[in-house]
């Protein structure tokens, strides 16, 4: 290598035909990695913790986990924990319903292939604005101001779901096949008939899949809402934690985990049935799409392209 440099110095075009190693990409990589490391180090300074704290933390955590065993189901069940689990489920379900019922009609008017810009832009802004407000904050405000309890939690979850589901449904509608709509126009159909017979059958399976996904997420959200007093199992967890009743905490945690996993399983099964029922075989693509949809739904954004409904 050095020998070559001696023989052909300063030559930009090596006679061997070997291209030079592209440096730009490499420099970028080094730069970005450095930036990430610096950002992380800066963040570390703000945490007000020593290196010793980091080493101690797992021990402290483990210490608590040990105290949680064996979990004391009897006490928490006597205190009505099962009912609170169900209350969390009700809150999540009603929230999802509110989100689905309000977002579905709205999402048509947010889609570029259906609605004019004058209608579309405000509706999209609405969806985005709703998504940007954490549901926990909304629930907290509703709770403080109205004193409503679980119903305030369901409303907060519902409102947030309008934003996320609205955005996703709009994207499904926008990627739909225009052909059937044209066919209905050609047969003399009205706008409503085009939507009812050309659009809804195309998009509904995918959209219902999103509703179920959102329900899964909302179950988690409703479990959290109890932390701020909006009812459900979260409240029980907080009171047990505050009194440091760790066996009871362990029991409540296991109940939360069971609830979440059971709902995920049932909902996942239903989603697969709906995809299969819509005339497509479940394959790797669906699997993949579902992962990406999960990513999307956590934020209510879509990293994925919604399934093209027509293949």
């Amino acid at each position: 290598m050095t020998a070559a440099d001696v023989i052909v110095p300063e030559q930009s075009d090596p006679p061997t035909g070997r291209p030079e190693r592209p440096m730009a990409a490499r420099n970028w990589r080094i730069g970005i990695t450095a930036a990430i490391i610096i950002a992380a180090m800066w963040s570390w300074t703000g945490l007000d913790a020593s290196f010793q704290d980091v080493l101690d933390a797992p021990g402290k955590g483990w210490n608590i986990v040990k105290q949680m065993w064996p979990p004391d189901f009897k006490t928490v069940v006597d205190r009505g924990a099962v009912g609170k689990i169900f209350e969390s489920l009700y809150v999540a379900w009603i929230g999802t319903m509110i989100g689905a019922i309000i977002s579905f009609p709205l999402s048509f008017f947010g889609a570029s292939n259906v609605a004019p810009a004058a209608l579309r832009v405000p509706i999209r802004l609405l969806f985005n604005a709703i998504r940007a407000v954490p549901e926990l904050i909304v629930a907290m405000l509703l709770l403080t101001v109205t004193g409503l309890g679980p119903w305030a939690g369901a409303l907060a979850i519902g409102l947030h779901s309008v934003g996320t589901l609205g955005k996703l449904s709009t994207e499904v509608i926008e990627t739909s096949d225009e052909g059937p709509l044209e066919a209905i126009s050609a047969a003399g159909g009205t706008f409503i008939e085009k939507m009812r017979w050309g659009m809804v059958p195309q998009v509904l399976p995918t959209v219902i899949g999103y509703w179920l996904f959102r329900f899964e997420i909302n179950v988690r959200a409703s479990a959290v809402l109890g932390l701020i007093g909006a009812g459900g199992i979260g409240g029980e967890l907080v009171s047990q934690l505050n009194f440091r009743n760790f066996p009871q905490v362990g029991a409540v945690l296991l109940m939360v985990i069971a609830m979440v996993l059971i709902i995920d399983t049932i909902s996942g099964f239903a989603r697969r049935r709906i995809i299969a029922g819509s005339g497509r075989k479940i394959d790797d693509d669906d699997h993949n799409a579902s992962t990406e949809a999960l990513a999307g739904l956590l934020l209510g954004d879509s990293i994925m392209r919604p399934n093209k409904p027509n293949d």
């Binding site: 704290d53 608590i64 009603i94």
Partner: protein, 267 residues
């Protein structure tokens, strides 16, 4: 030939919807009504919740207070720090664990099942519950919040990433193994380039998630701006609260726009 097509004249009977579907629809409707009753649903509350006089106390926003560095800006910085360090650590750890959790690249079957099992459990506990748990375990503050978000973002990230790895092209890995590569270098050279763009996209996603989570972590004592929100709420300073909310709102929108822009360039 074309005439034979018209020969089929037997009209099929309309398939009746199965009783199961009726039962399902009725059951879901009944469940909805029941659930609504249980949580205290009232149509009237749609109206009278907005007429509550307390809403008047949200205005005007005391911008002097909001823009006082000490009140909002410093806790916001803390929020960012929690989100950044959790994302960096969580996503870094997710790279090896994600590979371990994919059938394609797992070093051994026990590792595959154990990591899957553990991560599924971790993911089943929502981020804020992690916050509350860790505050109890290691004390109030941003440090506990960072642990909580690190753990949760790790669990989300490995799920997303491992399924991307599952879908990666297995042939290059086969080739690398055929060339006598050890497991880790083989995965590094044959699979990582394929899945890395997705990894970066998901990492940005997790960062967004963490920003949003860290804004509210303070509600359970885990540091950041949420701590201020909780204090102002409990002292009924709703006007200040609205000011903080507007700032939070702006931050979420800005971060999302940046993230979307970067992800667009990645694809």
């Amino acid at each position: 030939m074309s005439d034979t097509a018209a020969a089929v004249t037997v009209r099929p009977r309309k398939p009746r919807p199965q009783i199961r579907s009726y039962v399902l629809v009725i059951a879901l409707a009944a469940f909805t009504l029941f659930a609504a009753r249980q949580i205290g649903f009232r149509w009237g509350s749609f109206i009278d919740m907005w007429t509550n006089p307390l809403w008047d106390r949200f205005w005007p926003v005391p911008w002097d207070w909001v823009f006082n560095r000490h009140n909002v800006f410093d806790p916001l910085i803390e929020t960012f720090q929690i989100a950044i360090i959790s994302t960096v650590i969580g996503c870094s750890l997710a790279l090896p664990i994600g590979f371990a959790m994919s059938k394609l690249t797992t070093p051994s079957t026990p590792v595959f099942w154990v990591s899957r099992f553990v991560m599924n459990i971790v993911r089943a506990i929502p981020d804020l519950l992690w916050g509350k748990l860790l505050v109890t375990a290691i004390g109030i503050g941003a440090f506990a919040g960072s642990w909580a978000l690190t753990i949760f973002s790790l669990a989300v990230m490995v799920k997303l990433f491992s399924e991307t790895v599952d879908a990666a092209d297995p042939l290059p890995l086969e080739a690398a193994r055929a060339a006598g590569g050890r497991h880790t270098p083989a995965v590094r050279t044959a699979v990582l380039p394929d899945v890395f763009p997705a990894y970066v996209a998901y990492a940005l996603y997790v960062f967004e998630l963490n920003i949003r989570a860290s804004l509210v972590l303070g509600l359970v004592g885990a540091g950041g701006i949420g701590r201020v929100v909780e204090t102002q709420r409990s002292t009924f300073n709703f006007d200040r609260l609205l000011g903080i909310l507007i700032i939070m709102f702006a931050i979420v929108i800005i971060i999302e726009q940046i993230s979307v822009a970067i992800r667009k360039r990645l694809v």
